[in-house]
């Protein structure tokens, strides 16, 4: 392997990835606990809950999956909604693809599986702040592995605790609160503000539709509104 002669060591990048990812675990771990507990509350078996965390491996989409499943929506609709929520990952894939071109298919499959919000965020920052070296993909292996292990572990602890936590505690409210903490920092950027406003209003207007179809419609409307606002802003800046 060329890596042994290279001045850059995969090991170092791997541990750097772990270290860079660590602070983000503060947001991920409570989320995993809550997902595990909600899964138990929704009546899923421990195997089904763990399978969701391993096979889907996408926090927000797993919570929506549970809520939709509880309403008795059909599997295709559940998968369709999960896909809309996870659409943003195509953007991550497109942004980071240029750095992975030299890798084998096995690496590409593994790194794609590990490509989540938090891991992408720190690894992309690494690629953009340094001249890329041939083993920098180990950084994503590190950040992704830490996230993966934390997510599986907290899902498991959450599903064990789930039975013990009374629903009256209102733990489910922690989910919208977590999302609130994620979107608020963007609210000062005009296009994001327009996207938030549009999505919120459309979600209310279409809330009478069955199977949470309002989520898909509002998401699409919000995306489009954000894009249009960005165009208007760019045009205003040019003139």
């Amino acid at each position: 392997m060329a890596e042994t002669q290279s001045p850059f060591r995969g090991r170092d990048e791997f541990f750097r990835g772990l270290r860079d990812e660590a602070p983000l675990m503060v947001g991920v771990m409570p989320f995993g606990l809550i997902f595990g507990a909600l899964g138990t509350e929704a009546g899923l078996t421990p195997v089904q809950i763990m399978a969701m965390s391993i096979i889907i491996f996408g926090g927000a989409s797993q919570v929506i999956f549970l809520q939709l499943y509880a309403t008795g929506a059909n599997p295709l609709l559940v998968s369709g909604t999960v896909s809309v929520i996870n659409l943003r990952h195509t953007l991550y894939s497109a942004s980071i693809a240029m750095y992975f071109r030299h890798l084998s298919l096995r690496w590409k499959v593994l790194l794609s599986y590990l490509l989540t919000d938090e891991a992408f965020a720190v690894t992309m920052r690494r690629y953009e702040s340094q001249p890329p070296n041939p083993v920098m993909h180990y950084h994503l292996l590190g950040s992704g592995t830490l996230l993966w292990v934390s997510w599986q572990l907290t899902t498991f602890i959450g599903l064990l605790l789930g039975a013990a936590i009374p629903p009256s505690l209102g733990l489910g409210f922690a989910i919208p609160l977590t999302f609130m903490a994620i979107i608020i920092p963007h609210i000062m950027q005009a296009p994001h503000f327009v996207a938030i406003l549009t999505s919120g209003i459309v979600a209310i207007l279409t809330s009478h539709l069955p199977w949470k179809l309002n989520l898909i419609i509002a998401s699409m409307a919000g995306m489009l509104a954000g894009y249009l606002a960005e165009q208007v802003k760019a045009k205003a800046a040019r003139s």
């Binding site: 953007l91 497109a94 999505s199 509002a218 919000g222 954000g226």
Partner: protein
């Protein structure tokens, strides 16, 4: 049935992550689509928050809904402290307080 949904969701999610990393042709996302995808997170999360908080038992509930003031309070906290744990903590305590005393 739940297994069908789990497996299809997992496959689709993986395919979206793999779409560009795995493609041999060096395709790029057309700029308008790229720009739209930048707003997916905010749009999706807002839709989830709104329907989670405002829809109680499938009915739009604006009045007599303690989650609304609790969410607003948490939003202010998020803006001030920019910290996920503080935001969740303040929101949960506010909801508990409102449910207990009002």
């Amino acid at each position: 049935m739940i297994w069908v949904a789990i497996v299809i969701s997992g496959l689709l999610t993986f395919m979206m992550r793999f779409a560009f990393i795995g493609s041999l042709a060096h395709r790029q996302i057309p700029p308008p689509i790229r720009s739209m995808l930048g707003y997916v997170s905010t749009a999706v999360l807002t839709a989830i928050i709104v329907s989670d908080v405002l829809i109680v038992d499938e009915v739009l509930t604006i009045t007599d809904n303690p989650k609304i003031p609790a969410l607003i309070l948490a939003g202010i906290a998020a803006l001030l402290f920019r910290n996920v744990m503080v935001t969740i903590g303040i929101g949960l305590v506010a909801l508990w307080f409102l449910n207990t005393y009002f």
